[in-house]
């Protein structure tokens, strides 16, 4: 139940993730994150960056990045160059994976701050391990997509994930819903009216010809597609 509260608190925050107050090189990292996020939203302009940025020397850092071939700057338009694109993708991936880790798994208060520290420390190998541990989640808790890594494409199952899609449970297993990444809004509304929300304990009865779930005294039959979007932790 306390999980719910935290996810709600996070979702309650508007706009961009809180910025992390950190030393020199990490200021660059913050800018890369802002650029990536704005690009996702289709609002990438120089003014927008300056507006979203809390770092004082923001503009001079941008000029620096352009000089070293990370980004291409032309009037208002900004474009990530290949090596900048790679750096931004990895940063955002680490940040959002860390968020998932702290919210869902550790159910920590102040996950945002922890995630900020983590994103600068994680090595590529550890990042992939965290991703695998969490079952290659497609979204961060605030609903934003997590850039895919190599591990997601290869689907290495060497380390058993703690959080996995409901679709991967074996019939007869029971698990607690950790988060749901809905394909559509109406689907989520319908499921939640039947009691399918984070925190509910669900038991999988069968997978064929359709998935049959039990929540409390309610039995529901659903398509496989839906169970791929419900992420659970075994109990």
């Amino acid at each position: 139940m306390s999980d719910l509260k935290k996810v709600d608190a996070l979702e309650g925050k508007a706009g961009h993730p809180a910025l992390c107050v950190l030393p020199e090189i990490e200021k660059e990292d913050e800018l890369f994150e802002i650029i990536w996020t704005l690009q996702e939203e289709g609002k990438l302009t120089l003014d927008q960056i300056i507006q979203s940025c809390t770092i004082k020397e923001c503009e001079s850092i941008i000029a620096d990045l352009a000089k070293h071939g990370w980004i291409k700057l032309k009037g208002q338009s900004i474009e990530l160059l290949p090596k900048g694109e790679k750096r931004a993708r990895e940063l955002v991936r680490r940040h959002r994976l860390s968020l998932r880790l702290f919210y869902d798994l550790f159910a920590l208060d102040g996950a945002e701050a922890e995630a900020c520290k983590f994103e600068h420390i994680l090595s590529p190998e550890v990042t992939d391990s965290v991703c695998t541990l969490l079952g290659h989640p497609p979204n961060s808790p605030d609903g934003k997509p997590i850039p895919r890594g190599q591990c997601c494409a290869m689907f290495r199952q060497e380390m058993k994930p703690l959080v996995a899609p409901l679709a991967d449970l074996m019939p007869g297993e029971q698990a607690k819903i950790v988060f749901i990444t809905p394909g559509s809004h109406s689907r989520l509304d319908r499921l939640s009216a039947m009691g399918v929300v984070p925190g509910s304990v669900v038991k999988l009865h069968q997978k064929k010809p359709a998935y049959v779930l039990q929540l409390g005294e309610t039995m529901i039959a659903v398509d496989k597609d839906i169970t791929k979007e419900i992420f659970v932790k075994k109990v």
């Binding site: 139940m1 719910l4 509304d189 409390g216 398509d223």
Partner: protein, 661 residues
């Protein structure tokens, strides 16, 4: 059985009668309770979505004349399908009487989701924890006093099907109160609620509840909004909603539900205790699981079909029909009727009208009572048993994949199976489907390829006299046509398929009294609806015969009926009366076959055409009512030539390859 017309409803709703409104999740026993309170029977089954329309009944409760209103089940008062909208709209547009929320005790968590919404509406209500026996047998006990305290309303426990707890319920409805419980949402949502509330007019339900519905993105509310608020205010409301939504990545509807669910869990924690479950529920549970097992499910499905066929086709259409037709009507009633009429009415014209070849007695009543009635009676019993056992939703699970081919999902099985009872009421039941595309598809397939019980019974009686191969060809052609047309129509008709999310009710032992009452109600309905049409059809045939129009129609249709379908000229009669009722048409073929005028190939061809042929008049009117005149007409325009086309091709194939049936 579903003739509670809306005009009657309007009149009731606007009257000053004391009102009791039954509301709750699907399959919690609202209709059973309605029957208890009013003494009127409405269809009670063990699957969600049996009631798709509002039903009204009068009752004398606590010495006051009261109007009791039964509503379609809802999972949330933010509707996701048409039947759910019906329920919400009653709360929205009617002066509230007493609302009785019926909840399934073992599933109180979901019931509370509705309780919290009723609380937000500030309507006075009481909570009825129904099916208390089933909860106890599963080891679930609810502290009703504590719950009453927390909610600030009367809470009673009942077992509607055993009449237990009704006295307490009657006492409870004298003291309805708005609930004191309330749910606080995220600050941004609360802000949106405040802003939107200030723009809303007075309504029968609280503004806060309306504002939350709007925030949840309830599109079904737009009709009401446009009727009550000016357009620029609506635009402002929509702007506020979007502003609030933009602060979250998940849909507001989901966030609001999630918060309500959390509140429900907090309440449950204080009122629910669990003990060890009894054994009886485990047996039913395992039967339920086996019936949708990927391996054992199929033989169970085939066994169920075989038993229904034996019961309806062999026992009903064979033994019972033979007895009624040959002995009761053939030996006693018809000869007597002929004697009496000839004696009382010495005019040959009237004699022929009543007891001639196209006589009202010798044809219409004989068809209706001796052939169709026993068959539909047996079918209604079998169907009632299936309904009440809880097997049908599990069947939906088994066939989900096949239905996906037709742009539908397993949920569409319910109206389709119901169509085997009566296509007219099945067309009404398409309301449980979520998208317009699905409703159109199912309406078309019902009209095209699903024979109703009356027709099916007659058909089973006919094919029972043929080889298994003949039955197989008829059924195979039918299934192939349904699949093909469904597949193609799904490509043509715009729109998206919906998710397959279906609640499975527990497997239960059907209650004999409910089966009996239900079958009687349905037989009564059949007699009321079918017999007059049989009479009318026969009378038209008689007139047509007298003035020579029948011979003219036969001459007109001979190129199709005789040359293309290879049937005797008189089969045209059966097709003509098939317009009035499908079963009547099938019964006409039945008689032709009995007179030895049809060979096996002709029987299979004519049955196939008759099954695919146009829906009966009642079904056509229902199609117009639910889908609109244009859609209904274009479906009919497609079906008639298509049915004859399939028949012609089948005839050609069977004759060319000289298949021995």
């Amino acid at each position: 059985m579903h003739d509670h017309g809306s005009t009657e409803g309007e009149r009731y709703r606007n009257s000053d009668l004391h009102k009791v409104l039954l509301i709750g999740n699907p399959n919690v026993g609202k209709s059973a309770l309605f029957g208890l309170l009013t003494g009127t029977y409405v269809t009670v089954s063990n699957y969600p979505g049996t009631t798709v329309e509002v039903t009204y009944g009068n009752a004398e409760l606590n010495k006051t004349r009261t109007l009791v209103i039964d509503t379609p089940g809802v999972n949330s008062l933010v509707p996701m399908s048409e039947d759910e909208k019906v329920t919400r709209d009653i709360l929205l547009t009617d002066k509230a009487g007493v609302v009785v929320q019926v909840a399934d005790t073992k599933n109180l968590r979901r019931g509370l989701l509705i309780t919290l919404q009723l609380a937000e509406m500030s309507v006075p209500f009481i909570l009825d924890l129904n099916m208390d026996d089933e909860a106890r047998s599963r080891g679930i006990v609810i502290d009703q006093n504590r719950l009453s305290q927390l909610l600030g309303i009367e809470v009673v426990k009942t077992v509607a099907i055993r009449r237990s707890g009704i006295d307490k319920l009657l006492k409870g409805i004298q003291h309805p109160r708005p609930s004191i419980i309330d749910v606080r949402y995220d600050d941004a949502i609360e802000g949106g609620v405040r802003d939107i509330s200030s723009l809303l007019p007075d309504a029968y339900i609280a503004r806060r509840a309306l504002a939350l519905m709007i925030l949840s993105g309830d599109e079904s509310l737009s009709g009401w909004l446009h009727a009550n608020i000016q357009d620029h205010v609506i635009a402002e409301i929509e702007r506020i909603r979007q502003a609030v939504q933009s602060k979250f990545n998940n849909s507001l509807g989901y966030l609001i539900n999630q918060r309500r669910m959390k509140k429900a869990d907090e309440i449950l924690e204080q009122v629910l205790t669990r003990h060890e479950a009894g054994k009886s529920s485990a047996v039913a549970f395992n039967i339920g699981r086996l019936s949708m097992h990927p391996v054992y499910g199929l033989p169970i499905l085939l066994a169920v079909l075989y038993i229904v066929y034996q019961f309806v086709g062999v026992l009903g259409a064979g033994t019972a029909v033979n007895f009624l037709e040959k002995t009761v009507f053939g030996v006693y009633l018809n000869p007597w009727a002929i004697k009496i009429v000839n004696f009382v009415l010495p005019v040959p014209f009237f004699q022929e009208m009543i007891v001639g070849d196209y006589g009202l007695f010798t044809m219409a009543l004989t068809y209706a009572i001796a052939i169709v009635l026993p068959i539909v009676g047996f079918f209604f019993i079998a169907f009632g048993l299936l309904e009440d056992s809880g097997y049908l939703p599990r069947l939906a699970v088994m066939v989900n994949r096949v239905f996906k081919i037709m742009g539908l999902n397993g949920k569409a099985v319910l109206p389709m199976i119901l169509g085997l009872g009566c296509d007219t009421m099945a067309t009404l039941t398409t309301r449980i489907l979520e998208t317009k595309k699905e409703r159109i598809l199912v309406t078309l397939l019902l009209a095209l390829g699903v024979p109703c019980s009356a027709q099916l019974g007659v058909i089973l009686g006919l094919v029972a006299g043929l080889s298994g191969l003949a039955t197989f060809i008829w059924l195979g052609t039918l299934l192939a046509v349904i699949l093909l047309v469904g597949y193609l129509a799904a490509k043509v008709i715009p729109g998206d398929p919906s998710d397959f999310v279906l609640e499975l009710p527990p497997i239960r032992v059907p209650q004999l009294t409910n089966i009996m009452v239900k079958t009687l109600a349905r037989v009564q309905w059949y007699l009321k609806e079918a017999v007059p049409l049989f009479m009318l059809g026969t009378f038209l045939l008689f007139i047509g015969h007298k003035v020579g129009a029948l011979a003219y129609i036969q001459a007109m249709t001979d190129p199709i009926v005789v040359n293309f379908l290879g049937l005797p000229s008189r089969a045209a009669e059966a097709f003509v009366i098939g317009f009035l009722r499908r079963d009547y048409g099938a019964a006409g073929l039945f008689m032709l076959a009995k007179e030895g005028l049809l060979d096996p190939i002709q029987i299979v061809v004519s049955l196939t055409v008759m099954t695919l042929f146009v829906p009966c008049i009642a079904n056509f009117f229902m199609m117009v009512k639910e889908r609109g005149m244009k859609t209904a007409l274009s479906m009919t325009a497609f079906i008639i030539p298509f049915a004859f086309g399939v028949g012609g091709v089948l005839n050609w194939v069977l004759r060319t390859f000289d298949i021995q049936l």
